[in-house]
């Protein structure tokens, strides 16, 4: 290996994506913009919900419940309807997420000391939001029940319902993110995903582009050795990946105000290992592909499943066991644990290393394989 040739190759490779102002901008701009947009867009809170109301009772207590629902912060508009047809239409067209139907004996039952039913109809197409909204609604019902027991239960002279012991207090504390700000969860994850996407795209294209444009043959007749070519493709991608990763970490901490509690050095170490393992995958792909189009679509076909099984969008423990085992081979899965851990959970050294060594193993495997494949292709 000749350091001079290696430097020349690296500079050439870097220039191929940084020379042209358009590609310079598309390399740096979109990831940062997406980090900003998505970190505000992705939220699992449910807000501004429209609710349909079919009140057949119009009694004091149905008015009370209605008023409480209208006043709660997750509801935007409460739309009174006259009949089941109108209610069905509002749900069918997706105009409302939820509909309440109060039967005509609602107030009567409560005054008589009996339970009163409320039909809650939710849009199953948005079952996720529906479940969260239902949770908010049960809170409202619980609070109302407490007041009801107090106001009606004692009047009826039923001590079992009224007086006596209140239920145990449940004191909830959310560690690491006391107000459950979703952005704090999503930003570290996006840093990992966007850095991976960039590194994969840059390396995936590297050899395929040269082959499509015919410059690869020129490289072959030049004095560089195959190993130098591999290293010359790895280093620039590593530089792009880590620099962009760091830019996004800085944006996350300073612009998006996500707390950073762990060790920056450990995160940097893991980021480098992570990018190495991704670069290995990208190089393998690139050496197999004949055209840039194949490389880009290949990158894509790898990215999507890897993101889905990484635990970013859905918790890992929801996956079947065999898939959790497959996910162990995904560098993103390990890196996500580290990046989320060092941002929020002040992850101790031992925990970081426990997830960093699989990254190192994956990196070693993918880079070795990439090297073998490229070498074979060169002969």
């Amino acid at each position: 290996m000749n350091l001079y040739r290696l430097t020349a190759l690296t500079v050439k490779e870097l220039l191929s994506y940084l020379r042209d102002p358009k590609s310079r901008i598309t390399l740096i701009g979109p990831p940062l913009m997406q980090l900003l947009v998505f970190s505000f867009a992705a939220t699992l809170e449910v807000k501004n919900v429209d609710v349909a109301l079919l009140d057949r009772d119009h009694g004091a207590w149905s008015e009370e419940l209605t008023a409480r629902v209208r006043a709660s912060s997750f509801v935007d508009e409460l739309l009174p309807v006259d009949g089941p047809d109108e209610l069905r239409e509002l749900i069918d067209t997706g105009r409302v997420l939820m509909a309440l139907e109060l039967p005509d004996d609602f107030s009567r039952n409560l005054i008589a000391g009996r339970p009163a039913q409320v039909q809650v109809i939710l849009d199953g197409r948005r079952a996720n939001a529906g479940q969260i909204a239902l949770r908010y609604l049960s809170d409202i019902a619980d609070r109302m029940n407490r007041d009801l027991t107090f106001e009606l239960g004692t009047i009826r002279g039923a001590p079992a319902f009224g007086g006596g012991v209140p239920p145990p207090e449940v004191a909830v504390r959310h560690w690491f993110n006391p107000n459950l700000v979703y952005r704090w969860f999503i930003v570290p994850g996006l840093v990992g995903i966007l850095a991976m996407l960039l590194a994969l795209l840059v390396t995936g294209l590297s050899i395929a582009r040269e082959r499509e444009l015919g410059t690869f043959d020129q490289l072959l007749v030049s004095p560089v050795t195959p190993l130098e070519i591999v290293v010359g493709k790895t280093v620039p991608a590593l530089i792009v990946g880590t620099v962009m990763g760091n830019l996004m970490i800085v944006a996350g901490v300073f612009a998006l105000r996500v707390p950073f509690t762990g060790s920056l050095w450990l995160l940097e170490l893991s980021l480098v290992l992570f990018i190495f393992s991704v670069v290995g995958i990208g190089l393998m792909l690139s050496s197999i592909c004949k055209t840039q189009q194949q490389a880009i679509l290949g990158v894509f076909s790898i990215m999507v499943p890897v993101i889905l099984i990484s635990g970013f969008a859905t918790p890992l423990e929801n996956m079947p066991t065999w898939l959790q085992i497959v996910a162990q081979a995904s560098p993103l899965k390990h890196f996500l644990i580290i990046v989320q851990g060092t941002f929020l959970r002040a992850q101790p050294v031992s925990d970081v290393l426990a997830n960093a060594w699989p990254l190192a193993v994956i990196a070693a495997c993918t880079l070795t394989l990439a090297n073998l494949i490229v070498q074979r292709r060169l002969q």
């Binding site: 979109p30 699992l44 199953g124 009826r156 006596g164 006391p178 189009q293 859905t314």
Partner: protein
Amino acid sequence: MKLRRLLALVRKESLQIVRDPSSILIAFVLPTILLFLFAYAVSLDVQDVRLGVVLENDGAAARELAAEFAATRYFDVLPVRDRREVEGLVVAQKLRAVVVIPQDFDRRLAAGSRPAVQVLTDGSQPNTASFIAGYAEGVVATWFESRKRERAAIGPTATGPTVALQPRFWFNPEVESRRFLVPGSIAIVMTTIGTLLTALVMAREWERGTMEALFSTPSSILEILLGKLLPYFGLGMLATLGCGLLAVTVFDVPLRGSWGALLALSAAFLVPALGQGLLISALARNQFIAAQVAVFSGFLPAFLLSGFLFEIESMPPLIRALTYLIPARYFVTGLQTVFAAGDVWAQLGPNMLAMLAVGAGFFAITARKTRKSLDR
């Protein structure tokens, strides 16, 4: 416009699609994997949450409550001896949350003063954390209620004046996330084919200079563009058909609406999707840039801003306004309706019109940009 020239162009492009393994990969292999993952692997339904229970008290009531937690179907309960062990386990994500039943629990309960149960969650996973908090409160309240009833020796039916919610999820009674994730993922597949693939193919023609070569042939611009777009339109429709069949037959997601409505919806979506791909390629004229832009402006928004995973109504107003420009937004809603609810034209119609309008916008901008740059 001459039909023969158009057909020749369509045939050329179709052959190119069929001969390139990568377009088959993106149109048929990736969708299958995606649908499979959404149907069986990835699920938003919370289950098997690892919950630690610290029992600091050996009393009967405390043990009863702990058993109540172990009996729920959502939790995987692990007994923890000491609350000092807990934090380390949560940091290491061995546990998602811990319930602490304190030492004085039984004593306070017997004395009639209000005992406290502590719930400590891993807030770095906000979704799971808020679920656990809400569910834990429910477990405690239910347990307490049934105990009170036992004590007072009243029947389980007599509950006093309470508001009883009877939730029913229409279209999805079992509340399975795949019922909406599988239809939604068709939008992701179609965005990939319509926008990413088209942007790449056209950018390659620009990059290699073959676009100008095509322009110098007797074919008109319209013929060239149609000749390019029609095959991808066909590929997209085939992919929808494939995804729909897979969803219904293999992944057990019923199609309540009609195939006609599903195909009409997909056809309407392909207009803005292809338009966006065309616009990107005309602006970028370079495959790397086109890919970057297509992923960041087409694919990721289809995933994150379309209402597929995150509720649009909960987003900040500015971003909510932005989603109106994202065709996938209308498509995801439409797909979920066709699959789960049926042919609700009152909702599908406006969605299709909106997609066509966005598509018309993309084509109009492309037309202006293309004419300008050819003059240059």
